[in-house]
Assembly symmetry: C3
Homo-oligomer: 346 residues x 3
Amino acid sequence: MSKTDPGRFFEDYRLGEVIEHAVPRTLSGGERALYHALYPARGALYSSDMFAASCGLRSAPLDDLIAFHTVFGKTVPDISLNAVANLGYAEGRWLAPVWPGDTLRARSEVIGLKQNSNGRSGVVWVRTTGSNQHGTDVLSYVRWVMVRRRSEGPAPQTVIPDLAPALRIGDLVPPEGLDFSRYDDVLAGERHRLGDYAVGEVIDHVDAVTIEEAEHMLATRLWQNTAKVHFDATQREDGRRLIYGGHVISLARALSFNGLANAQMIVGLNGGAHANPCFAGDTVRAFSEVLETGQTNAPGVGAIRVRLAAVKVTEARDEGYGLKGPDGRYLPHVLLDLDIWALMPV
Amino acid sequence: MSKTDPGRFFEDYRLGEVIEHAVPRTLSGGERALYHALYPARGALYSSDMFAASCGLRSAPLDDLIAFHTVFGKTVPDISLNAVANLGYAEGRWLAPVWPGDTLRARSEVIGLKQNSNGRSGVVWVRTTGSNQHGTDVLSYVRWVMVRRRSEGPAPQTVIPDLAPALRIGDLVPPEGLDFSRYDDVLAGERHRLGDYAVGEVIDHVDAVTIEEAEHMLATRLWQNTAKVHFDATQREDGRRLIYGGHVISLARALSFNGLANAQMIVGLNGGAHANPCFAGDTVRAFSEVLETGQTNAPGVGAIRVRLAAVKVTEARDEGYGLKGPDGRYLPHVLLDLDIWALMPV
Amino acid sequence: MSKTDPGRFFEDYRLGEVIEHAVPRTLSGGERALYHALYPARGALYSSDMFAASCGLRSAPLDDLIAFHTVFGKTVPDISLNAVANLGYAEGRWLAPVWPGDTLRARSEVIGLKQNSNGRSGVVWVRTTGSNQHGTDVLSYVRWVMVRRRSEGPAPQTVIPDLAPALRIGDLVPPEGLDFSRYDDVLAGERHRLGDYAVGEVIDHVDAVTIEEAEHMLATRLWQNTAKVHFDATQREDGRRLIYGGHVISLARALSFNGLANAQMIVGLNGGAHANPCFAGDTVRAFSEVLETGQTNAPGVGAIRVRLAAVKVTEARDEGYGLKGPDGRYLPHVLLDLDIWALMPV
């Protein structure tokens, strides 16, 4: 009997099946410190207990993307170990803050299946939910991946889930107690509030970071993500290690502080594409396009929907915000195209 | 008067002498988070307070190898600063869990001495014990190293300690309260329990990791290990930094999760050899051979003795589990050959 | 309206103006663990709660330089984003320990201005103060930087602050309760106490560390320092990332353990120069020259003033303690020339 886990193949998924993912994880101030070392993250609400308290929270929660990466990492052995591609995200909602000391676990329900016409792979849709030690759900999102078949065989019935193109503001869940009515712009680092952002406005976040192998591996391991291509230089013919897409998400989010410092908490993930692979040595910068704004029920708390893009700095240095070519495909220097909702003082 | 510490030489050790090692160390969730970033460690008992509580512990202890590296690091300035080689380990026992907030210190007793025939070096055996702030011993092991003489001189009486080739199960100390009778295989990540492992069985742990300079230096410094060859690229003629052998131990142990996920806690170190030096750029994989299994007195808690090997992936990619050549010497791609006891649910 | 912060230019500073810096920061054991991973720091008082308690403190504070880097990092967006050069430090005093759980914020007062004769830049002097969540000041220092003008224009009145060439011992503030009368040399790691150091004595700290890109970027981000030149390899024509001067300070301080292990806490910064830029691949070593010694009011607590220098190991390996050439300029291999006060048992 082989003792190692080969991961699941397309034919191993059943519609409606619920997979409990292994290895729950207790998070602490250690993960927060590492997050600050790995990304240029400066959001005041996640950096300072005092700032968070002034916004009605008991202390600073862990970064919204720490919750995301931790939950995502749990799913890798069951969902994406044999994935050919990570195709998309939808209906991602942050449901409760994660505090230092919390223990997160994750489960996924298979909500869609579609075998490819070549019979050698298929698309699996899962709705993943992360919960804490009290049984409270902290995060839920849909992800779909293309997974290899172990061997050719008959296709299961095709079921493609009906997913919202974007969450509405009413779907968002501001943390209990959150109150931006005494929000301190000076300590937050920028004066621009919700009313200062116009739909269609594009923000060039100016700063850029060149990525090292050690950094993306430290980050990816921190979330107990075990996909070989991130760690083993002998896996690809070109000897390069593919950078975990979530590393680029966190990098772009952190870079977006300069221009979106008051987009304090990500509470919705409407969609996203890892447009091109990212490798060590790439220098990454970020743009945001404002898609929608509105108010939540929480006092002083608005919501801003932005398209957050990460691009590689190219030799020509002519990379701008245009993400797709005339053929509708992503340009080669585009790494990430993410559609998120964040909370911002009105 | 020179203020810097040149380290001890062979003639500075006296049989029976007890050396109190400097700089006690308080550990926290920060060291745990870094451990997860540095190694693909996924043992549920060390990752989750809830999982540990379901096994009868008050919360998740720090990884067994965090305790080992911290104690080992304390000994370096007194034992191995002038070491030519780290020759072996024996009779290593983990005696009590180490919890976040604990402060560890270490002392070593010189239990053996043997001058080499060339008169320029000798072998020193020490029994090192780590203890916590309550004075409780948490770890004890014998290590022997070859140390240079400062100058030639008469040899001390040769005393070679009588060391057990391996601990017996009765020598192992399961943590107080440990109870695997309600062990959750799904959350642990694998179904194989003690009875599923056969003596002689060899497990190829499949995954591999390519090591970067920054990673092994971060790890080695984290344990306050100060040996120059790990940090200073001008120390060796080839400009390479030698990777701390303990880094390879932790890497192999973490890689062994895939196939030995339920080998939850290392409680015994029977022996070990750092077969060949490891350098940045090496891609490391791991094998385990089952040597012995048995039951402890703790409810549901068995013990598995494995030979854990780390090897470099070579260009020929033909590296397998064979560790030694026909001449009985380690093959050039073999990095580590470790003999350990771990606790596993029956 | 541009949303990103271009940083301040010379003409944006007004004498007497007080700038509240953004993004307060809560520190934990995570930052301490990372500090130990990034630097070979072994000071017993910052490493062990028990050792600190034996010195009259409630537990181990965070390293003096963690406080410095955190406060310094806060000032970067307001003070040095458009700085051409970091010219000097003076009158730096550590005023209270920083404990895990503390939240630090920073403010700077503009205390001097001098436009350069070319009209394109000027020197700005600021006195920066870091304080904790109780409003207690923990650190104060003067720094001056050369900052670009946005456009040419009339010079403000030149005001050059009158700064002490060095603090006197009476200016130093030993932490409340600090008591070295039962100081444990063995656990501290060295026997040399204040009386063993002679003014004029030079200590070669022997050890050296080769720096990697990932390490200095992790460190600099950890302090939320956002200066582009440290992270973006496309900023300089030579494609190199300039290492944050504070990284070299921490490296030199940590290397100085070997010879100055009992210089437990930095409490004064009299001056300092980043003599030459440092880049990844440089191998760094440290020297200290004893400048002054004396006693404080705290029981058993002396103070030692040292000139701490960091130099690059050159191919010729002939680098010694001589820091300046016959022309009074720093030699090319010199990185750092720092003048500090530290507390040491008498």
